[in-house]
Amino acid sequence: MLTRLKPVAFTLCLAPALLLAWNFWGVTHNRPEALGAEPVREAEVFTGLWTLRFLAITLAVTPVRELLGIGALARYRRMFGLFTFFYACIHLSMWVGVDWFFDWRAMGGEIAKHKYILIGMTTFVLLTPLALTSTKGSVRRLGGARWARLHRLIYVCAITGTVHYLWAVKKDTLFPLVYLFVFVVLLGFRLWERYVGPLRLRGRRASRAADRPSVLTDVATAKTRAIGDAK
């Protein structure tokens, strides 16, 4: 069931980008107000928020899968992760190509002067190796454990990405704090599993002693399972 829904999920993940493209076309053609009075800013905020949303969706895969015992969900994780990077790429290219029009010197100054841009750039740099090593071949080459260790960078990205949003906001920090809360819950789940014990609402109820894996082996087994599922 979940396997067959994957093309649907893929299309849904693409929808925000298609909407943005459609609105951008509108701005330059027949609907000048399609992206509000400030289309550049609107596009930056829009893609930035979708990057964070996909990051949250990616990080929600493991908790949801384990809490509800839906093992097949694991095979969605890479897709969500790559969509996170996809929206991060659009976000960055909006800033580079549209907002600053490839004015590298000015952008260098911006990165140096403004900490929210610096931490945003940092987040992008940290996301890049994760996207590059998302293939099955990479898992094989790196070995499950090393691969899993590298991919724990996603937790760092969740925090730096949210701080980027928090620092970019002028005064009303309500929404950045909502995102921060979501990420704290998602990361808290992992800490809980690591230090307290597995959390299950339904599905496999493993014996306590056996099922107390470290985050590392948990991720690694999840990945092997995912690869197994995909075959």
């Binding site: 027949n30 609907r31 800013r41 000015a106 403004h114 929210y116 005064k171």
Partner: protein, 314 residues
């Protein structure tokens, strides 16, 4: 499913017509004001002592200033009293009632009192002033305002010589202004000017734009316009004007003293921690343009700050 094509082509045609009328009005206004050295067109004239016909170096490198549309001016607003998103003021201000309106004048002056809006406006001639508005967030608009030069109004109240500053207060109506129900800023919004800034010929108490009464989202029924300062100095929906002898507190300075100063003069050389101020994006344009010192009004205002360290007094 076939989704009906929105009929925005029609409405844009209407806007164009409106614009045409307004553009003619603008040309008249700018021409008159330009001749007196106050208007937008005269603002770029440089220090070369060039005659009126010459184009200043600055202006030559700068794309031309074009009026923003009524739609842009009324749908992209920072008016936290109605919410913190740019579209919030337009969406949330329909329930605001700008009339009847009373402005309290108090402090160090000979004619304090509660002035009904009409009594405040009537004795004066409404003037047209087209100004650039530069937001501290590095975007800008060109807006054709109508209003009364603040200096003229102040003279009526006969301030005492001891009055060194003018302090302004926005109305506090959380039942009509949903943004005031959350403590995003300290309410009510307060702002202030030094007396010479308030008396400067550019400083305007705006009551309308594009020939219409101020829309709620733009600060109805009366707001301050100080075109050489960042937009947040332009306090909206004013209910109190007080003459004081000490520098008054200002809302954004209270919120973040390291980011927003009392003076808040547009200055491309002094960066805000969040936004570089060297460039700005004019609403409706894709490319950034260079920000001008004092928003291009240096000729009329720079002398007020001679000898001041503008890096310290940001």
């Amino acid at each position: 499913m076939w989704i009906r094509r929105p009929d925005d082509i029609k409405s844009s045609e209407i806007t164009d017509e409106q614009l045409y009328v307004d553009r003619r009005r603008f040309l008249v206004a700018a021409g008159i004001l330009g001749a007196s050295g106050v208007g937008l067109l005269a603002c770029n004239s440089d220090a070369h002592g060039s005659s009126d016909g010459d184009v200043a170096t600055d202006a030559a490198q700068q794309p031309e200033d074009k009026l923003n549309t009524y739609e842009q001016i009324t749908s992209y607003n920072n008016f936290y009293e109605f919410g913190t998103d740019k579209e919030d003021p337009k969406d949330n201000s329909a329930g605001f009632h700008p009339m009847p309106w009373t402005v309290r004048v108090e402090g160090l002056c000979k004619k304090p009192g509660d002035y009904h809006f009409d009594d405040l406006i009537k004795p004066h001639k409404i003037v047209d002033r087209t100004y650039r508005l530069r937001c501290v967030e590095a975007w800008s608009l060109v807006i054709p305002w109508q209003g009364i030069p603040l200096g003229e109004m102040i003279r009526r109240f006969e301030p005492e010589p001891s009055a060194k500053y003018v302090a302004f207060t926005t109305v506090f109506r959380p039942n009509e202004m949903p943004g005031q129900r959350r403590p995003v800023l300290q309410w009510p919004y307060i702002e202030g000017l030094r007396m010479d800034e308030a008396m400067n010929d550019l400083t305007l108490m705006a009551t309308g734009l594009y020939g219409k009464p101020l829309p709620n989202q733009d600060g109805a029924p009366i707001r301050l316009i100080v075109p050489w300062k960042y937009g947040f100095k332009g306090i909206k929906s004013i209910v109190k004007i007080a003459f004081v002898d000490k520098q008054p507190e200002t809302t954004w300075n209270i919120a973040a003293p390291g980011e927003y100063g009392f003076y808040a003069n547009v200055n491309p050389e002094v960066d805000h921690p969040r936004w570089s101020q060297a460039t700005e994006r004019r609403i409706g344009e894709f490319r950034r343009r260079r920000t001008l010192m004092f928003n291009g009004y240096g000729e009329q205002v720079a002398s007020m700050y001679s000898g001041m360290d503008l890096r310290k007094n940001y």
